[in-house]
Symmetry: C2
Subunit: 399 residues, 2 copies
Amino acid sequence: MAEIDTARFLADLHDLRKIGEFKTGVHRPTYTPQDMESRRWLMARMAEVGLEPSMDGLGNVIGLRKGEGPRLLVGSHIETQNEAGWLDGALGVVAGLALARAGLPVEVVAFADEEAHFGSFLGSRSLIGAVDEAELDAAKHVQTGQPLRDALREAGLEGIARARLDPARYKGFFELHIEQGTQLENAGLRSGVVSGIVGVSIWRIVCVGKQDHTGGTTMAERQDATVAAMRVLSLIDGRFPMVAGERSVWTCGRLAIEPNSPHVIPGRAEMIFQFRDVDETVLDRMGECLKAIVREVDRRDRCAVMVEQISRSAAAISAPAMRGALEKAAAKHANGQWQSMPSGAIHDAQHVARIMPMAMLFTPSIGGVSHHWSEDTREEDLVLAIRILADAAEDYLSS
Amino acid sequence: MAEIDTARFLADLHDLRKIGEFKTGVHRPTYTPQDMESRRWLMARMAEVGLEPSMDGLGNVIGLRKGEGPRLLVGSHIETQNEAGWLDGALGVVAGLALARAGLPVEVVAFADEEAHFGSFLGSRSLIGAVDEAELDAAKHVQTGQPLRDALREAGLEGIARARLDPARYKGFFELHIEQGTQLENAGLRSGVVSGIVGVSIWRIVCVGKQDHTGGTTMAERQDATVAAMRVLSLIDGRFPMVAGERSVWTCGRLAIEPNSPHVIPGRAEMIFQFRDVDETVLDRMGECLKAIVREVDRRDRCAVMVEQISRSAAAISAPAMRGALEKAAAKHANGQWQSMPSGAIHDAQHVARIMPMAMLFTPSIGGVSHHWSEDTREEDLVLAIRILADAAEDYLSS
């Protein structure tokens, strides 16, 4: 099997950590000088391991491998959220370098702006051909409002063509990532083979009642929007377990009532409700259940209740042969301390999956912390992850 | 029986409506030039009907009657909410003038700042001795933050003593007011004899969970504060009808979750919950029920749930003899189109009730509108109200 230089793998991670260092984490928002420095650092590392590096017009960095034969794409992203963790994204990219250094036929990619400073997965979606120029013209920084085009010019990327991934070139895409949750840690496990990346279905539920004085309006006269919202949430709580999958999650993260004054019966309540699962049929079933619940409350309650879907992202199932290779390698290296699990968060791999087979591997996040400078993973878990990934890659390539 | 000059009664109301006229309503916030002009107008009308008018250091206007013998206090307030209705408050004060003009032994009062521009019932509470100087020193305008003392100086009230009502002087206090609701209108009724003014019990309920990513946190791991809040509201909805009185009302008018973001499991939910009833024992029972519900959810749910009482105002029952006189007069004049009912809103009478017998009469609000310039009442209902009030006053005085 391929021999991974784990010391060098860890050293690369710590080198990259110094660029945009913030406390024990890093601050490398997309297209900032720190981000661009990290991309140039990456290109130098790619050259060292025998890859031919290039950066495209969006800042995507790809290291191509000369020669013929089947090959894999391995990577993730290297820019970060503000004052965020040192491993989120960087781990998957440096893992690709380690595999290439070990002589595996691997090309390495760092997708730009996975962290959504300017858009939603602009880098990976552009590389699969799912971003047009109009979207780039319209894109602005989510906080400052700076146009993407201006940021690209300041970063020296103006006029450079955007690259496209050729699916015929690759046998598949592997992404190693931190878990960003506590499922592994809570179960005392050290590695997670991702069964698939969840699809996310997001809905707006609106209850319209009648705003009235809390003192002068009898219970019989009221159309209390908070009561209607409570009935919807209560039915979801009771019925979703009957239609959900084993790993489905559902959340009302946003709930706003109007006028939200102690002495006024609320005339309107709006909720944003979302659910996630790796199985599209489960997502469909939960959507039908939600619509039935809203119809029922609308019919029985004095308030009018409406629901509409705001967005739905497609679930992406890990390719069975790639997932199988990861499971075999995990069984070999992790001493029983691993599990299969869905990714509740979205990753670049979800978009890459539209053009080639994909699989992901998770390594634990200490305390589940992510998007914060204190994010971390135990060193022995990082080493375990690169060993599992290397074996799985070699195994899958030879299959 | 006393003969009421109903034409003059209506003319007075329309005269007062011209001061601070706004569309079909009025704009006379406390201590504004329009408010002070209306107080001077009232003093002139008091003098016309043989009362001795005075204005105290808070702007309370009282018209005293010379001579001996039992007497009644009749009134309400004449300042208004911003761009509000022409009858709210004014009706009860002008009704007092009408009774005095008819020769009834009635003194008339207009309490200052019932509408809470600077505090909570400052005028009526001051007149019963329940406001100290420190409260006045601290009071500020609820919107502008202007100190009350500055507003009093600008209104020419600085250095004028505050008056006190002498309970021994009166057989009781009558307040005629618009309903500010739709109970009378919806029941096709023209008059409401107030059985009592509700006590209001206000509580803060806090659910503390754990803020987490909606994707990476399984249902089994979650401590979702919105779910806990829903369970509390659902139990209230199911159990309060078992402990409430026939006319109790309960409302969650304020509900705020944190961070209130679609992709984050809420870590905290705060509700302001209130209930109202005229019966103190019913209020106690509802309070115990609420505490038991919160204890139960705290015990069963993964979130910590806490409740604390923020405030409680005492219910005020109408004096039986005064209420009886109003009912007898309503039966005589309203042709069956009246009912007894609680006042779900709070009025000056609730404070006056602490030092003397009190009763209130409601006249319908068209469409239930109040605190808006479009507030109105049919003229024949105003005339009916003053006839009922006059008969009841005369009847009660002779009892």
